[in-house]
Amino acid sequence: MKILNRRDLLKGAGALVAGATLPISLVEMAFADSSLNFTFAYISDSHIQQIKGSKFVRNWDRGLIRAVAEANLMNPRPDFIFYGGDIAQLGKKSEIDHGLDILSGLRDKVHYVMGEHDYYLDLGEHWKKRLGPDHYSFDHKGMHFVVLNSILTYDDWTYDRWKDGEERMGVMAGLDDHRGSPFMVGEKQRAWLKKDLAKVDVNTPVTVLSHSPLQKIYRGWNFWTEDAEQIQALLKPFKKVNVFYGHVHQIQYNQIGNISFHAAMATAWPWPYPQSNAKAESSLPKLTVQMNRADPFFERDATGWQYIDIHSGNATMNFSLPDNSPRTVAFNPATGRPEDVKYQHNRIPPQTHF
């Protein structure tokens, strides 16, 4: 297994990074036949937020600007970049455009995933105009990639309940707003996915990208996809499947059958784990060793970046955390699941940073 360190990756980035958070993810796909190896970066959840006119929230801008700068310094060069969703905070054209302006600084091709903050103002119209379809697939060096729009919901919620798109977006933007509605991929995309996968050999590793987790973690904050089981069933025939998702703004990983799940950190702000909500019952995978609590005195804390190494389709995520030990979550063939190589059996106490 090849674990790259941050210094190898960010050649010449010393002056820029200087021990701060690196809010992007680099994914390395390493195959038994090393000529198939490749890397990609993964940037997610920038939540670009307009204050007024050309004024945007500085903190969120900085996170994305830093991610772009560092992705451009990565070595080896990634083959492409995934953007995991939620470019915008309130789905406004101005927010999406401002985010895409910053992202246009990337030197590599970007594949985009739709987030709920990009969608619920105009039902993704502006996003699609700028970026194209919200679900698609492609093949790259022996791997089949699928992108899904997983943040749809029930039609009556979307179409019949709100006086306008702004009100609808406002409700869906509030993670803890009880008037929200559970995310789903929906019947239409599931039918498309079934057809798309029918062409793929079961020995081909499949990687799926969605904004929400294609597993059920905590419904109260929509760390959830209503039809997760149905998607998992469609992915079941394949020998190896990886699912990467954004939305949760924290390190999560899990193994369900043949599917390894990994979440990305946000470039904007970290979220507490569902267990920290005293009133919640959640099923955060027991497997996940949680992130340390964030330092409120350091605005980039617990926003971070990861890169992934893949052997025969198995992923190794590497997380860089400022002022905290870096973390590596690797697929352990002996146990058949992703594990934190250092902390899985030696859990970190919260806030060692303080």
């Binding site: 204050i51 929230v57 803890d176 979220w271 507490p272 005293a278 919640a280 005195f297 605005e299």
Partner: protein, 137 residues
């Protein structure tokens, strides 16, 4: 005074005190009182949630709930506690002001500002049932 008289004086005082308490208890609070207290508290919690999601609290439109869904990670039960970066034992209100001034780019509230009190009502209410753990990080 002998020690006997002292005892007597104390006893008499105690009896007087008890009678005093009985007098207060005779004036029992009514269900209307209970209702008032509950309603006032509930109203503060409700207003607190509004402040917690108020885009006008700071200057950049960012709201508390964006980072603290259900007021998670505010840990009211751990205050007062030592905050290394403040270099002292602080109350929750001081940390609320820290978050108003930084992520929200706003100005600190007076500690007895109605919004400050209401936010504390909301935050603490979300953590109802947690045991007190003052000083805990």
């Amino acid at each position: 005074m002998t020690s006997k008289t002292v005892t007597m004086v104390v006893l008499i005082t105690a009896v007087l005190l008890m009678t005093g308490i009985q007098a207060v208890q005779a004036d029992e609070y009514t269900s209307a009182d209970l209702e008032l207290w509950q309603n006032e508290y509930d109203a503060a919690v409700k207003r607190g949630r509004q402040v917690f999601t108020d885009q006008k609290l700071g200057t950049n439109g960012v709201v508390c709930a964006q980072c603290h869904p259900n007021a998670a990670n505010t840990h009211p039960e751990t205050y007062p506690k030592y905050q290394k970066q403040l270099g002292k034992v602080a109350t929750m209100a001081e940390m609320i002001n820290f978050c108003i001034m930084n992520p929200l780019e706003g100005s600190a509230l007076a500690l007895d500002d109605q919004r400050m009190v209401d936010m504390q009502a909301y935050i603490t209410n979300e953590r109802k049932g947690e045991s007190l753990a003052p000083g805990k990080h």
